[in-house]
Amino acid sequence: MAIRYPAEIRCQKELEALKLADTYPKPQGWLLSPRMVELFILGSDQEFMTEDGEKIRIRPKYWGDRTLIQVAIATLASDRGLMLAGEPGTAKSWLSEHLSAAISGTSQLIIQGTAGTNEDQIKYTWNYAMLIAQGPTPEALVESPMMAGMKKGQLVRFEELTRCHSQIQDVMISILSEKQISIPELNTVVYAEKGFNVIATANTADKGVNEMSAALKRRFNFVIIPVLADLEQEIKVVEERTKEAVTQLGIEPEISPDLIRLMTTVFQELRRGKTLDRQIQIKKPSTVLSTAELISVMSNSALLSAYFGEGIVGMKEVVRSMFGAVSKENDADLEVIKDYVETVVRDRQEQPWQEFYQICKEQL
């Protein structure tokens, strides 16, 4: 059993049901129409039928402004690439994965951008043993995910594009403009089939996005995925995603909704640098307290309670996980938490805030 299956497998029934119900026009090469892709991403209360006659609802994969999703989908139907940018933990890769799964049926054509990414990883490379033995032949060619996507007319995901060196990034310019990769060794050109496009992601907390060349930026439409500002929305996301994460880990601990609400409030206040009622200013930690981080904290707490506790996620587990998350980049951020606890939490008389305060004091 795999630790994690890609979206097209996890959401297979949903995709199947949507395909069956899809009567809208589809761009060439797409498995679903844009409207159904939107529905897949945003979810729906409406019931859909699978091939076996099972009725299912489409769970939301993204909570936030519908406009962003519509722009993303509309971009993928055009000949411009889609750049999903935002702070770490804002679900860029998650969204990229699900869009690819819905549109192309696969989210596995991935190029991971790193400082070591080279041109071969983007275009193609060779099986050197065969190359030496036979010379350059199609059999000796090792396609990159980009080439595979172009041939099959599918979406290719380029994660953290801006982590690559600028010269490597600029390889994408000709791919996105000309939609072809030439293979001089074989005297041939691979042309992109309809349905091909690129979803790139970039982290705005790094300086990377600013270093994209103007020519490369022009090949993308940008969508900035914001940090969730709405408390209720973020609570919903955390509840759903934590449940998914712990189910995948094979455990089913009890997590109280009050605890999730408390932790979401804590994260939001630290992120904003002020209390939700805007009355008190707070120092912000240097680490990014994203929704993904919060989900990770809750999932970790669930693991702690399942394996070392009674199966009910308690305040101790949550606080311990939170401190770990906060101080992972900078110990001084623990002082920020201390300040927050003494300045804000202490005066909140109701539970579970008082319990949170006591446990934090003990831990700190």
Partner: protein, 756 residues
């Protein structure tokens, strides 16, 4: 029986205006009745003038002192305006049929803030709920998709039937919640009566009625059930006037909180001009935005515009729209021009989608003299007239710019919203007269005209209005500094013809006023006027020379009793003394002698506030009345003989207030202070430490070195050693660190001892 043809509309809607135009041309009615204040019917001819430039607003205001007012905006694509134009074209008699504005103002009892938007809001919770139910995020999006874009492809009858259905649905929901206001019911009853009256006057020819869609059912039913000639009872006796004033796109836009406006007046103006071809308008606007962004230094080019256009079309398809509209423009430009950042486009959208046009009234309209003068000056002086803030820098040495300054100050004096003087919060009013440069931010709003109209009661020119206004203020003053402040305002607004009258009041008050602070402020104001008045080309300045002398002598005379005051009041007295000192300077005026005499009395007076005593001593030293030796002896004597150490620290503070840099080099003074400090017991020292810190804190590096030199001599120590001891004390970061340590200690004690 004449046929009544109802044309339900949404206000400021191009598609509604389009179909109103079509229908009136088709029907050729004898009368066109329009939802609008019936007391504004006299203004209708002006709306047909050729030199009228929209947007304008019918402005209703009360002519008593109450602040109530109402605006009824009109733009080129307001169905009401188009109805008036088209009605005139086909020879129909047009009139407004709603309750008079005075009734409305009384009925709503609105304050100026509530009265800005008059037409019913198209964005109530009912309309928002309807939009969400139809799958749209906002009512504006729903309206654009279902009516503005689709509506141009329907016949007038189909369109009005649909909008009538929409309006009826909204009204039903409101009625279910009992949310229909009494004012609305009164208005509808009035409108029914007007319609019936029109029918009786024109029994054979069609009558067209233009009304908000939500009123449709009520009016139709009202006409069916109308049976009597009962007058609508109204005890309204509100003196009110209506007139036309310019309006602006910005005001019209939703962003200004205008409930029945639309988000992007300029965009919809273009839609109106393109007869509903939003696809064309989108392309046009994208190119305009491209050019705007390029002027701002962004690297946008035609390929961005092409991609934005394509994205807009695709978004429209995904959203089930026939063509892209406003939302698609905005979403596409965020992604293609703004790299995902909406903030980068806000100013671009303001210019290209909202627009900054301000309407122009026809020349024939009876503007008030103040309005005429305002617009004439603005044009002559080249002052920007837009509904977005613009910066104006003035060099007051230039005659034209000085005229502009006077003009803006006059408006500012009357509180007419137009120019805001940009200055630091610390700048005092009298300092305005000393400025050679001014920076203003000017922005026209409908309130500008509204206030100009209001102040017409004060005079027919700005000069007259300001004069009356200032004279009224003068009549109410009680203290001399209030009068002298008005003198300054007269200076800034070049109303020097009022100086003689103001002088008489000053003379009278100055004889009676015993308040030192007020008198010293008066001295400051009058001295400023004398010093800078000629630069401002003010005449009659010489009249105030005698007044200055009188005020100074009066202030000096009231100084001694004023020094018996607590610490809170002492600082104000200190400032007053400093003012007199600054004004007197090195002059050989007779007042100087009296001032010196008064200061001597202050330092002798034991019950005078110690801060003031110390300060007085330092002034006498600076004026050459006390030698170095005498200064040291006096301080030593004070410090030795006093029983109240707190007082002594204030004395020291006062002494060092003005001339610290010089006094810290005086060995005798530092010696005296050192002896005093060393003599204190620990508890007293700790108590006095904050006050002593005030005197010696925030020294510049040079002052710090000077102090250590002096201290080294006093302590008979090596200067370098003293420096190494003192330097850390002067280090600000060290202070902050010490503060944090102390705070942590205090927190621990609090917890240990359970203190709150």
């Amino acid at each position: 029986m004449s046929q009544i043809i109802f044309l339900p509309i949404r206000h400021h809607s191009p598609v509604c205006a389009f179909h109103v135009q079509q229908k009136i041309r088709e029907v050729q009615p004898s009368r066109v009745l329009i939802e609008g204040p019936s007391d504004a019917n006299a203004l209708l001819p002006y709306l047909l003038e050729e030199d009228l430039r929209l947007p304008v607003a019918i402005y209703a205001y009360q002519t008593d002192e109450s602040p109530h007012m109402l605006y009824y905006p009109l733009c080129e694509y307001s169905p009401e305006y188009v109805a008036i134009q088209t009605g005139n074209e086909v020879g129909a008699a047009c009139s407004f049929m709603d309750i008079p504005s005075a009734w409305m103002m009384k009925a709503r009892e609105c304050s100026p803030e509530d009265c800005e938007p008059l037409w019913e809001s198209g964005t109530s919770r009912y309309t928002q709920a309807l939009a969400r139910q139809q799958g749209f995020d906002s009512f504006e999006e729903f309206w654009e998709a279902r009516f503005e874009i689709e509506g141009f492809h329907k016949t007038a009858d189909q369109f009005f039937a649909e909008i009538g259905t929409y309006g009826s649905l909204i009204r039903q929901l409101e009625e279910q919640d009992d949310a229909v206001s009494p004012v609305t019911i009164q208005r509808e009853a009035y409108m029914v009566r007007e319609i019936v009256k029109a029918v009786r006057e024109e029994p054979t020819r069609p009558i067209v009625v233009i009304c908000g869609a939500a009123h449709l059912n009520a009016l139709e039913q009202g006409i069916q059930s109308f049976s009597s000639e009962d007058e609508l009872s109204s005890n309204v006796d509100v003196p009110a006037e209506v007139t036309l004033i310019p309006y602006s796109y910005h005001r019209l836009s939703e962003q200004s909180g205008y409930g029945a406006g639309n988000q992007a007046p300029r965009f919809y103006q273009l839609v109106w001009e393109a007869k509903g071809d939003t696809g064309f308008v989108v392309k046009k606007v994208l190119v305009e935005q491209l050019k705007y962004l390029r002027r701002q230094g962004y690297g946008t080019n035609l390929s961005h515009a092409i991609e934005a256009g394509k994205l807009g079309h695709t978004l429209a398809l995904i959203r089930g729209k026939r063509a892209p509209g406003l939302k698609e423009v905005m979403d596409a430009t965020v992604s293609c021009y703004g790299e995902g950042y909406r903030d980068r486009l806000l100013s671009c959208w303001r210019e290209t989608l909202i627009g900054s046009s301000v309407g122009i009234l026809p020349s024939r309209i009876a503007q008030t003299p103040l309005q005429r003068e305002f617009y004439s000056h603005v044009q002559q002086l080249g002052i920007p007239l837009e509904d977005i803030p613009k910066s104006v820098q003035l060099q007051l040495t230039q005659p034209t710019e000085q005229m502009t300054s006077v003009f803006l100050h006059r408006l500012r004096l009357l509180g007419i919203p137009f120019g805001t003087l940009q200055m630091n919060a610390s700048v005092k009013a009298y300092q305005l007269l000393t400025a050679v440069r001014e920076r203003w931010e000017v922005v026209w709003t409908p309130a500008t005209d509204a206030q100009l109209i209001e102040f017409s009661a004060y005079g027919s020119t700005l000069e007259e209005a300001c004069s009356r206004y200032l004279m009224k203020k003068l009549e109410a003053v009680k203290q001399i500094d209030e009068v002298t402040e008005i003198l300054l305002q007269m200076g800034l607004t070049q109303l020097e013809h009022l100086f003689p009258q103001a002088l008489r009041i000053c003379e009278s008050l100055s004889s009676e006023d015993r308040n030192f602070t007020a008198l010293s402020q008066g001295v400051l104001h009058v001295a400023t006027l004398l010093k800078y008045g000629t630069a401002r080309k003010l005449s009659h300045i010489e009249l105030f020379t005698g007044l200055l002398e009188k005020l100074m002598l009066r202030a000096i005379w009231t100084l001694l009793p004023a020094t018996v005051v607590d610490q809170e009041g002492a600082h104000e007295i200190l400032r007053g003394i400093q003012t007199l000192y600054d004004v007197l300077g090195d002059s050989k005026r007779v007042e100087r002698t009296h001032f010196i005499h008064a200061l001597n009395k202050v330092i002798e007076r034991k019950d005078a506030n110690p801060l003031i005593r110390g300060f007085s001593l330092s002034l006498l030293y600076l004026m050459g009345q006390v030698s170095d030796e005498q200064l040291e002896i006096t301080l030593q004597s004070w410090l030795r003989t006093s029983e109240q150490p707190d007082h002594m620290t204030y004395l020291i503070q006062g002494l060092f207030h003005l001339n610290r840099a010089y006094f810290i080099r005086k060995q005798g003074l530092i010696q005296a202070i050192h002896t005093f400090v060393v003599s204190l017991d620990k508890d007293t020292f700790v108590r006095l430490l904050p006050m002593l810190r005030q005197v010696f804190s925030q020294l510049s590096p040079m002052d710090g070195r000077n102090l250590t030199q002096t201290l080294a001599k006093v302590l008979d120590m090596d200067q370098k050693k003293t420096q190494s001891l003192v330097n850390p004390l002067l280090n600000r970061d060290r202070h902050l660190h010490l503060d944090q340590v102390l705070a942590a200690m205090a927190e621990r004690w609090k917890n240990e001892y359970g203190l709150s």
